[in-house]
Symmetry: C2
Subunit: 320 residues, 2 copies
């Protein structure tokens, strides 16, 4: 944006999102100023969402704000971090009307409040292209306790939180697919970053990642980083009732395991911790399911109980 | 990008930019992990550059990389911060060829080395729109010493580093304007973030800002934040020989004072510090020029010695 519009927008629409956080310096300076706590490491995650690529052009301001903040928060959850604040760099299409922008910032305000977050800085500009939202999230962990992808040990169990595949079905629903999948729309539109779980897994999980690229692809990232193989027991992977019904109607389990956007946490842990993890899930009100094991070797093997091996290259996931 | 290309690009082109910085976690995790030093505040600046808006579609990869990093570094300079690391969120147009991308990351690598910076994280994605580069710079200052815009006091002098207006003339040259302005191209293509000056001004300057929107507009930002008026002595503002020649050929001084992108530091300081500041400029090999004063009131008044008052609204700057 050029001219007064930009500064009016910052003052009227963005300043309220700082909630007076001193780190924001009222968005009146060149940068944010953060005083770290003693004994804390900072976790910095930065994700970009582009209209038509990472969300639908038809998505509402609420859905776009929700996905922008929550997918970034999921990266903090995967590291076991507690969110502290964020910066937003938004390139607005020139023809986007002021009402849409105002609805977006109002939605961002509601969303951040649910996670105890404040806006502390960023940039506001215009683009001849699609709406492009780049958020930088700042979280903290006690020094040395961040979860990583590279700690999986041979013999560890592989766990997943929640259910797998609903976000992919929800995206089909948001794109106009049939009525039965409507129950999955929330999984796409407002994914739940597993922050409490990530925090609780510190010092527990040997490796963790959030499922953004798809369960098998993200298991592959852990296998690569940890220099091991991961075996997934396809029949053990938990799905929602809607997804089970979709499978009975001829849907492919490969789709559920490769369709990304679930933002559940996949993690590895010693089998000695099984009972403790099940109890943790109970305390959090979140199902935690053992879906495989870490083995010697490389890559991911996903097999059903009757011995059928999923062939990732035919299942649409090309990330490794 | 989708598929293997994205991960190959990260491994081959971006990982070398980490220079093994442990905070980057080899770009193999969900986020960067930074251990702040004791007694340090973190300064976080985030700027977005869009092709066709913030740089020319015809600019080389070197110019785009240079401007992306240097304009962000200038925000750290304005706060008196020492750069520590950065995250890059880049949305690549789908039709941009791999050679351009490789030349860009190679240029970014050269640029960051000149400032002792390492890449510690970010995001790589694709866009149907123009190349969009969002960098988040992390710098540090001793706790409580960051320069701000809001500290100018009535009676302070107003100073500027270097010369004003060359970047605007350089942009005309980069866009194809006549030969005499070619000497100014470097001011547009590789602006010099005044990091050493910013650091030296800590505890010295009462307020500081980098000139990105134009001298008068940025003086206005300081006036607003500091709740005072700023008087600029137009004849005292330093220009390069090329700019002086351009003025003699009929160029308007308003253009030089409103054409942004100079990335010099405008700052205010007690008149007791004049001699010390002149000496500081000598030590840094950088001219520091007194160009005005802080007064009671509001806004910016820019006047020539013969009493002509520049009228900002006719001079193309609409930011306040």
């Amino acid at each position: 944006m050029a001219g007064d519009g930009e500064f009016d927008f910052i003052r009227q629409r963005l300043q309220p999102l700082t909630e007076g956080d001193p780190a924001a310096l009222d968005l009146a300076d060149d940068a944010a100023l953060l005083t770290p706590g003693a004994g804390e490491d900072l976790v910095l995650a930065c994700d970009t969402l582009v209209a038509g690529v990472h969300f639908l052009e038809t998505d509402t301001p609420q859905v776009v704000a929700s996905r922008a903040l929550r997918t970034n928060l999921s990266d903090l959850a995967a590291m076991g971090a507690v969110p502290r604040a964020y910066l937003s760099a938004i390139a607005w299409p020139r023809d986007l009307d002021a009402d849409w922008r105002a609805a977006f910032t109002a939605a961002l305000h509601r969303e951040q409040a649910g996670f105890g977050l404040t806006l502390i800085g960023g940039d506001t500009t215009s683009t001849p292209g699609p709406l492009t939202i780049s958020l930088t999230l700042v979280g903290t962990v006690p020094a040395g306790t961040a979860l990583r992808r590279n700690g999986a040990r041979i013999g560890d169990d592989v766990w997943i939180s929640g259910v797998v595949g609903d976000a992919g079905l929800g995206l089909k629903a948001a794109g106009g697919a049939g009525g039965d999948l409507a129950a999955c729309r929330a999984a796409y539109e407002a994914p739940e970053p597993r922050l409490a779980l990530g925090e609780a897994l510190r010092g527990f999980a040997s490796a963790a990642i959030d499922v953004s690229d798809g369960l098998l692809a993200d298991a592959g990232h852990v296998a690569t980083a940890s220099r091991c193989a991961i075996r997934i027991d396809v029949d053990a992977v938990p799905h929602s009732p809607t997804a089970h019904a979709w499978l009975r109607d001829g849907g492919q389990v490969e789709t559920l395991l490769t369709s990304g956007d679930d933002y559940e946490l996949l993690f590895t842990a010693s089998s000695d911790d099984s009972a403790a993890l099940t109890a943790l899930g109970g305390r959090l009100g979140l199902s935690l399911t053992r879906i495989g094991a870490v083995r010697d070797g490389a890559g991911v093997v996903a097999e059903t109980a009757d011995g059928r091996r999923l062939e990732p290259q035919t299942a649409g996931f090309t990330h490794f």
